[in-house]
């Protein structure tokens, strides 16, 4: 399995909700297969895994399945986790969650995208509209995006993956990742603007 792309959230990028320290004593107990330690790790990462899966897939039942399969894989592989190359435990676990989610999306061909639009080549460097600070509105707007676009956007802006890392994960080019981010932000901007008018 490929090591996680980042050891710690970049200061200039968002901090992943996964970035939680797991003590060496807890990790060692979990590696010995102690049920209480495994449950503690599960409780610690239950929400980040479920949230990632839900934001990317957009489906609660699928996110629930991803949570279960991810944690089973984590438990199955925890004995072999050594933190090589300074990989934090949370990064290793997150990578399993991302892989499991992408695998499911691939299986149902949800990562196929619409034709490239010339506007997709233009990066959106402008700040988001004020309505983006409203979590409910932003969640609703995200949900309406195509799955591939939403997934790239989430990996890039919420999890802090780089375009190169997203390209490798999704077996596409960095340009694909950049274009999906540009497209996604453009659509979000429109959706949030439209919602703001509708709510006014």
């Amino acid at each position: 399995m490929r090591p996680p792309p980042t050891d710690a959230p970049d200061a200039g990028r968002s901090a992943s909700a996964f970035a939680q320290p797991v003590g060496t004593a807890l990790l060692a107990a979990a590696q010995r297969g102690e049920s209480a330690a495994l449950e503690q790790i599960y409780r610690c990462f239950e929400r980040p895994v479920y949230t990632l899966a839900l934001r990317m897939c957009g489906d609660r039942d699928e996110a629930q399945d991803i949570l279960q399969e991810t944690m089973l894989k984590v438990i199955g592989g925890i004995g072999g986790f050594r933190g090589d190359n300074g990989t934090p435990f949370w990064g290793w676990l997150r990578q399993i969650a991302v892989n499991e989610t992408l695998q499911r999306l691939r299986r149902r061909r949800a990562l196929e995208v619409e034709a490239f639009d010339a506007l997709d080549a233009i990066a959106d460097g402008a700040p988001p509209p004020a309505a983006a600070a409203d979590a409910a509105r932003l969640s609703r707007a995200l949900q309406t995006l195509p799955t591939a676009t939403r997934s790239v956007l989430w990996l890039y802006h919420a999890e802090g993956y780089t375009h190169e890392e997203i390209a490798a994960l999704m077996q596409r080019s960095p340009s694909f990742s950049k274009s999906q981010v540009a497209r996604g932000l453009r659509r979000l901007r429109t959706l949030l603007g439209a919602q703001a008018y509708a709510d006014a």
Binding site: G33, P48, L67, L72, W154, H157
Partner: protein, 188 residues
């Protein structure tokens, strides 16, 4: 009126980071715990032994013997079925069933080899997995009574036995150069 914090909207990263974490609709832990094998002592020694030539054949034979014994045991009447309202007896029976389920999980893990398997074998294996997953989903439902839990755990153990028997038979055939059927499919 939503709580709008202008600092959150200064960047997209900030806006995304401010989205609340979502809790799953149901607790997945009971299903995960049920499918988590009990840690084996001396696992390093086992791993070393597993690399020796002829280990596959020996393992398949041992699994077949072990499963035959388990299946015979399963055919015996259950003398410790708790009566309704007997909470402590139910708890003890449940504890036994957890342990039995965990042992079968460990056995199944050993018997399983999903690297290469035939299409039919993959289908049968997937059906059994789906059956176990459905039972796990039922077990995760809140408010289950003691008797319902006992029934579900017994169903789970039956399904695990079936899966174990199927996997060990498949390995036994493979160890003798035979296949479950002709059509091979690669499983990632």
């Amino acid at each position: 009126m939503p709580d709008l914090d202008p600092r959150r909207s200064s960047t997209w990263q900030g806006a995304f980071a401010a989205l609340p974490q979502v809790a799953p609709g149901r607790d997945a832990w009971p299903g995960i715990a049920a499918r988590t094998p009990t840690p084996a002592r001396g696992s390093t020694r086992i791993a070393r032994f597993a690399r020796r030539p002829g280990f596959g054949l020996a393992l398949a034979a041992s699994l077949l013997l072990a499963l035959t014994a388990i299946l015979r045991f399963a055919a015996l009447p259950h003398g410790d079925v708790p009566g309704s309202g007997q909470d402590s007896a139910t708890a003890t029976s449940l504890k036994d069933l957890y342990a039995q389920s965990s042992r079968l999980e460990s056995l199944l893990l050993l018997a399983r080899d999903d690297r290469v398997l035939s299409a039919s074998a993959a289908n049968v294996g997937a059906d059994l997995d789906a059956r176990i997953a459905a039972i796990d989903a039922a077990l995760a439902q809140p408010g289950l009574g003691g008797q319902q839990q006992l029934q579900l755990w017994r169903l789970r153990i039956d399904a695990l036995r079936e899966a174990g028997a199927f996997q060990s038979n498949r390995r036994w055939l493979a160890a003798h150069g035979e296949r479950y059927d002709g059509a091979l499919v690669r499983i990632d």
